[in-house]
């Protein structure tokens, strides 16, 4: 625990383990000037296993050495500084989302997330006002409250020793998303299975046929469910995405791809923010106390949590022409990984960036992306997690604690969250 003098509230220090074999980072003054252009340094020391376990010490070393690296293990250039990630987000002409050979296109079809404007715009507009703050306030909040009640009761019924992620956060996020999408013919368990198997497809770089088979089976189930709901919702409209899409002149192929992407991108993220924030607060009682005594701070805790551990740690882009990014030359057609998880801990932007501190000075983080593809579900995430789930769970589970202590596990880097979090309460 490191005490932050400004607040007097100890911040939660991140896992600061750096493998002993890593030499200390070189000073980064060499690439400060935009005039000096260099080739991307090759980070051949980065392994997928290390990234999955704890990417943050790796990001720290990468950032200290250069804003952009070629990383053979990932087969991409990794963009790790805040400035360079921000530049990519704001310049869609140079950094296209329409990546060649994208596994996401194979697993889910060609969704808005892999299109550039103006094609992207048409798809994004087709989501109408379903995910916007007005609809959240007038319609979804009540449903989030109800779902919170239901799954918190299930967690309570299971008793101490239940898992905060799998017995509460995951079904809560999945049931919310099921209704937002308009799948009245599926269960939250279906949504969880669809989401995970299709996500596994988007990351199937090893080309494992079994992974493809599961992703394809889910994809076919989603297609069938959509076909049925588009007919059903025509006569029984509601504020869901599919209901809006039922009366819109948009190709079925786009509807299918966009819904699959939304199933993959709208479930794990709120689940993971919810559990990561709870874990961070439970690991740092002084900060939890501060939030309890000032309920406005739940929103700050949410924003700090997605800054500290971005649920989407990396997303891909591809250069449309030769360019220079952060002083590093990139050829045309270069495949990039925009590492939000690293940008959000850039010491050029944040003081003591590796610590979780709900009282830190607020600055714009990149956890929701930026530019054209700025998260369409940002307000759903904020409302369902920071306004409903977090305050609700902490109010109702008296003396909530991590138990057995030290047994919670965080994992992942493209997506990062708690994979196990046993809890107890009084």
């Amino acid at each position: 625990m490191t005490a932050l003098p400004a607040s007097g509230i100890p911040a939660l220090a991140a896992n600061t383990r750096v493998p002993a074999t890593l030499p200390s980072p070189a000073p980064d003054s060499a690439f400060q000037g935009a005039e000096t252009v260099r080739e991307a340094p090759v980070a051949d020391w980065v392994t997928l296993a290390d990234l999955r376990e704890d990417p943050f010490p790796i990001y720290r070393r990468l950032r200290a050495e250069a804003p952009v690296h070629w990383v053979p293990a990932v087969n991409r250039y990794m963009v790790v500084s805040y400035d360079a990630c921000h530049t990519v987000e704001q310049d869609a002409d140079t950094f296209s989302a329409n990546e060649e050979g994208s596994l996401m296109k194979r697993a889910m079809g060609h969704s808005m997330l892999r299109k550039d404007d103006p094609e992207h715009r048409a798809d994004r507009d087709s989501y109408g006002s379903t995910l916007r703050p007005g609809t959240i306030k007038n319609h979804w909040m009540e449903i989030f409250e109800r779902n919170h009640r239901r799954y918190l009761d299930q967690l309570k019924a299971k008793g101490p020793g239940a898992d905060f992620v799998w017995d509460y956060a995951a079904p809560y996020a999945a049931e919310n998303l099921r209704l937002i999408c308009g799948f009245h013919n599926a269960t939250q368990e279906d949504l969880q299975r669809w989401s995970q198997t299709m996500i596994d497809g988007t990351g199937n770089y090893a080309d494992d046929p079994e992974v493809w088979a599961k992703a394809a089976a889910s994809s076919a189930e989603v297609d069938a469910a959509i076909d049925e709901m588009l007919v059903y919702l025509k006569d029984r409209p509601d504020p869901s995405l599919l209901s809006g899409l039922a009366s819109m002149p948009i190709p079925l192929e786009a509807i299918r791809a966009n819904l699959k992407m939304t199933i993959g991108g709208g479930l794990n993220e709120p689940r993971d923010v919810l559990a990561t924030t709870a874990w961070a607060l439970l690991s740092c009682p002084e900060q939890l106390e501060a939030v309890r005594s000032e309920p406005k701070l739940w929103a700050a805790a949410f924003e700090e949590s997605v800054r500290w551990v971005a649920p989407i740690g990396m997303y891909p882009r591809q250069t449309t022409r030769e360019t220079v990014l952060g002083g590093v030359r990139l050829p045309a057609g270069a495949k990039l990984g925009v590492v939000l998880g690293s940008a959000n801990r850039d010491p050029k932007v944040w003081e003591d960036p590796e610590s979780f501190n709900v009282l830190r000075a607020k600055k714009p983080h990149l956890a929701f992306g930026g530019g054209q593809h700025f998260c369409a579900g940002a307000w759903v995430g904020r409302a369902s997690v920071a306004q409903v789930a977090l305050p609700g769970a902490f109010a109702e589970l008296r003396n909530l604690r991590l138990e057995p202590a030290g047994s919670a596990i965080a994992a992942g880097w493209v997506f990062r969250g708690m994979t196990s979090m046993p809890v107890a309460w009084d």
């Binding site: 994004r124 006002s129 916007r132 703050p133 007005g134 924003e303 607020k362 714009p364």
Partner: protein, 107 residues
């Protein structure tokens, strides 16, 4: 080409001349005006381009649309009757000389 002036909470003024049709958000982000973020690139989705338009220009502004209205309820700094989203206001000859105040908090 119209001129825009941004006034920071400490009173510092930054004036700039822009192409017709540039939004208050884009002009600020392009020239690095502090306190205007524009995370969503102008889709009325992030509320980080909030500005207070000086009342003498109010009559020349476009109507507040539904998307802008609900997003103005999500700004970090207090919403007032001068509040607008910078990304929803394109500046042309009709708004030449517009003066806006940048809020103290944007996130």
């Amino acid at each position: 080409m119209p001129t825009i002036t941004y006034i920071q909470p400490d009173g510092t003024a930054e004036a700039m001349t822009v192409e017709d049709g540039t939004t208050l958000m884009r002009a600020a982000v392009t020239s690095g005006v502090d306190g205007i973020v524009g995370e969503c690139g102008g889709q009325a989705m992030c509320a980080t381009c909030h500005v207070y338009v000086r009342p003498e220009f109010a009559g020349r502004l476009p109507q507040i649309g539904d998307d802008e209205d609900e997003m103005l309820d999500c700004t970090t700094a207090e919403r007032t009757d001068r509040s607008r989203l910078g990304c929803q206001i394109s500046v042309d000859a009709g708004l030449d000389g517009i003066v806006v105040d940048v809020p103290a908090d944007q996130v």
